[in-house]
Amino acid sequence: MSRSIPALPLLSIALLVAAAAPAKPGRGHPDAGPNPAADACETCHRDATPDVFREWDAGPHGLLLVKCFVCHGSTGKDFARAPAAQRCHGCHPAETATFAAAKGGAAKGSVRCFDCHAPHGLAAPGKPNPHAK
């Protein structure tokens, strides 16, 4: 079956690394543990958070199977609602460097990847592209 593939971010518009920001306290995630019946996170989240699931699935992370836990960690006490910068940096170090270079070094205040990038679909429409080619 053929589906249109999501708009893949080119290297130059891919995720960039934000200044390190601690995960926000507050809403966690019930401990789903090792659940043999679960299909990763999909089993619950297709229904529980359908918009989030759909956005993720239609975006580059969904296509490339960067599953929920890569950004959010596991469930229970390991869950991070807002991923720490290291989570993006680990796979997108090039964007760190280009963003930093474009910003001319230290950025004022705290800049997060998700200031530009939609949290799950990851597109950044209408934003200037700080990632040099």
Partner: protein, 751 residues
């Protein structure tokens, strides 16, 4: 999109300013952190990465943006740090006493291993011992074992798990081109107008290669992707055409595609005349006319009848592939290799490229995707199989043996002239009591062998003295061992990996080995000394062995003698051939102007110098069925494979919290219609039984599954798919048919 050095320096300067914000940076060791250049521990994609070290521990990884993966990592690679401190790391040698494995000193353990191997050889001859290694061993480690066993102990019983993984791809390349290993590279994906994926779930098994395909699909002009797979997998998300078919009938489909290429004038006649020979069986003694006659009955309609695919889809696939002026890259993995007709299936993919001339130009190449990180570098190229010697040499070839004896400085006649036993034969010999001692390194046959209960029983019956060098304990193999040797893991040792695209890269040591673990390289050198063969393995460190390895490849088709350790340290991978220092390496083999082994004045654009007449062979391979097909008693086909969360037998990935929690156990994937017929819903337990064995799994009804086909992954130590699989092998490659056997499915419990 590669970074120039200038970009890197600019970025580093900027990044150091960012360090004040608490971000790790590449060039700066911020707050006692070090980043050590290395390669991912997992698949044959070979993603470059940096290992982050703090306080002597691995705390993070980040992708190497100067490597082919451009900094990207899949979810397994990203979570690597957790494997280092896994609670089941094997930290001390263990020796079986009174039926139990108990801690022992290194001296006692190694002394026992040496004594038992010496005794086995003294009583029963050198072929009473064997080595079963791995495509996950570093090149220097595998080399050490290969030399010790073949030149020291004088047995050719040196095998490795690439026999279960890549042997048919090897057989395909060797029979078609005369030499193993792909001629293309990842960059060909960037130029492919058409991508043909056969028997590959790259989205889950080679995620970063899949990313490259997806990117090409996105950014290229009218790029077409064809996926041939009985199952619809995440890989098909980029497919313009997915062709499902009855397992084992892909030979008919590939021949039918060739039929269409010929019938509709998509053959490159000049290329055929200049570069091809034709053959059947083992002899290239056929003609183009013979080939055309052979293809005549493989009409799309006939192939559709045989395979259950649609004739019009086969025609479409052929037309897209063969369209003149468009490039085509084929990629495949275990769907073609793990078959009793694996070599033939590989030949048929090569045929498509050969008759159209779509080979040796950017975007046109048959690119076998290698499963393991160092099957190519260590085992295939290094010649660590029972019929091979290093770098394209064969045990059966007298001249090759004499060359190696000279290079190894051992007396003429040292290397035995008969091949050793291939993997399944090796374990049969163990079962029969002929193999008395086996050294297993970095692999888990107690879970990964086909029809695994048979071999487990032989090991449990203590028919052979089993030594297992492993980083984890217990595994389904180490639990059966007489001696378990704690092996250093990944970032705890240094060495070279060689991945899918002939890219060799250096993994630098980042941290000290945990507990009492030692690198396999050291363990083997220790064993060699105790067995009186210290002179053959005289090295103090892997880099010393690398110097020797460079002398062995010089002048061969692999020639990477220009890849000094220093060159590897500086580079982000180098592609062989690379025959002199400073040579940039080779993207496309056999191509004049790119491959240094093709003379500059060669009259044509390619030279298949692996074969004596310089011609590649189009082999006439008919559709023949798998060893075991579904029938009335066992009405389902059973197939096995991988999922993105896990690697091989799961010893590493099951120690990563997120991966374990996300994909806890192996389930039986069934089509919903089969579920209805069986009265089975997702979560119910089903018993899957073959003529060989049985196992119970939870069921998962999966719309992408194929009716009549059950899929179970290989990563679960408690629910082993291999209790059911068949050990029938390809007669040439000796690779088992993990992908197809016949089973019955019965519901045993409602969820």
């Amino acid at each position: 999109m590669s970074f120039t050095r200038r970009d890197f320096l600019k970025a580093s300067a900027a990044a150091s300013a960012l360090a004040g914000l608490g971000l790790p940076s590449d060039a700066l060791a911020a707050s006692g952190e070090r980043w050590v250049k290395s390669v991912c521990r997992y698949c044959g994609t070979g993603c470059g990465l940096y290992v982050g070290v703090r306080d002597g521990k691995v705390f993070a990884v980040k992708g190497d943006r100067d490597n082919h993966n451009r900094g990207l990592l899949c979810l397994k690679g990203f979570l690597l740090p957790q494997i280092m401190t896994a609670p089941d790391r094997c930290l001390r040698p263990l020796v079986r006493k009174g039926g139990k494995l108990v801690p022992a000193s290194w001296d006692e353990a190694m002394g026992l291993v040496a004594a038992r191997f010496r005794a086995a050889i003294a009583e029963h001859g050198p072929d009473a011992v064997g080595f079963y290694g791995s495509g996950q061993g570093l090149t220097e480690e595998t080399y050490a074992a290969n030399k010790l066993f073949k030149a020291g102990l004088r047995t050719n019983n040196v095998e490795g798990n690439p026999r279960l993984c890549m042997a048919s791809a090897v057989g395909g390349y060797v029979s078609t081109y005369g030499k193993d290993e792909p001629m293309g590279c990842y960059e060909d994906i960037d130029h492919a107008d058409v991508m043909l994926l056969v028997g590959s779930n790259a989205a889950e098994a080679h995620p970063i290669i899949f990313e490259r395909m997806a990117r090409r699909k996105q950014t290229g002009r009218e790029v077409k992707v064809v996926v041939l797979d009985p199952r619809v997998t995440p890989t098909s998300r980029i497919a313009d055409l997915h062709i499902s078919f009855t397992p084992g009938t892909d030979l008919a489909i590939l021949n039918a595609m060739a039929h269409v290429l010929v019938a509709e004038g998509m053959v490159d006649e000049e290329f055929v005349m200049a570069h091809l020979a034709f053959g059947e069986g083992k002899e290239p003694n056929k003609s183009w006319a013979d080939y055309v006659a052979f293809l005549a009955p493989y009409t799309p309609a006939r192939a559709a009848e045989i395979s259950g695919a649609r004739a019009e889809d086969i025609v479409t696939a052929a037309r897209w592939f063969g369209e003149k002026g468009r490039t085509a890259t084929s990629m495949w993995t275990m769907g073609l290799n793990q078959r009793t007709k694996g070599v033939w299936a590989n030949n048929l993919v090569h045929n498509l490229h050969l008759v159209t001339g779509k080979i040796g130009v950017p975007g046109s190449t048959p690119l076998s995707l290698t499963g393991q990180p160092n099957a190519c570098g260590g085992v295939r190229d290094g010649g660590a199989l029972s019929h091979l010697l290093p770098y394209g040499r064969l045990i059966a070839n007298e001249k090759h043996r004499a060359e190696m004896e000279k290079l190894w400085d051992v007396p003429p006649g040292t290397i035995r002239p008969e091949n050793g036993l291939a993997t399944m034969d090796l374990f049969k010999a163990l079962e029969e009591g002929k193999l008395r001692a086996l050294y297993v390194m970095t692999t888990n046959p107690g879970q990964s062998l086909p029809n695994v209960d048979r071999w487990r029983k032989a090991l449990e019956d203590r028919r052979a003295f089993l030594v297992v060098a492993e980083a984890f304990h217990p595994t389904r193999t180490s639990e059966l061992a007489d001696v378990v040797l704690p092996a250093a893991l990944w970032a705890e040792k240094e060495g070279v990996f060689g991945c899918t695209e002939r890219r060799y890269q250096l993994l630098e040591q980042a941290v000290k080995p945990a507990g009492e673990a030692r690198p396999d390289f050291e363990i083997l050198c220790d064993l060699a000394r105790r067995l009186g063969h210290g002179k053959l393995l005289p090295w103090r460190k892997p880099a010393d062995a690398w110097e020797e390895i460079l002398t062995l490849c010089k002048g061969t088709a692999y020639d990477f003698s220009g890849m000094s350790r220093a060159a590897l340290k500086e580079a982000h991978g180098l592609l062989w051939p690379l025959p002199s220092p400073g040579h940039p390496g080779t993207k496309r083999r056999y191509v004049k102007g790119e491959d240094p082994l093709v003379p500059a004045d060669h009259p044509q654009r390619v030279k298949f110098y692996g074969r004596p007449d310089g011609r590649a062979v189009v082999w006439l391979r008919p559709q023949q069925p798998p060893a075991e097909v579904a029938d009335a008693e066992y009405p389902f086909h059973f197939t096995t494979g991988r999922v993105v969360e896990h690697w091989h037998t799961g010893t590493m990935t099951r120690n990563c919290r997120e991966l374990r929690d996300a994909n806890y156990e192996a389930v039986a994937e069934l089509h919903p219609d089969d579920g209805t017929k069986l009265g089975v819903r997702t979560g119910d337990r089903v018993k899957i039984t073959s003529r060989r064995g049985t196992e119970t799994f939870r069921a998962r009804l999966t719309p992408g599954a194929r009716r009549g086909l059950v899929f179970v992954h290989m990563h679960d130590a408690e629910h082993m798919c291999n209790r059911v699989t068949i050990e029938a092998v390809d007669p040439v490659s000796k690779q088992p048919e993990f992908k197809i056997c016949a089973v019955k499915v019965e519901k045993v419990e409602t969820a």
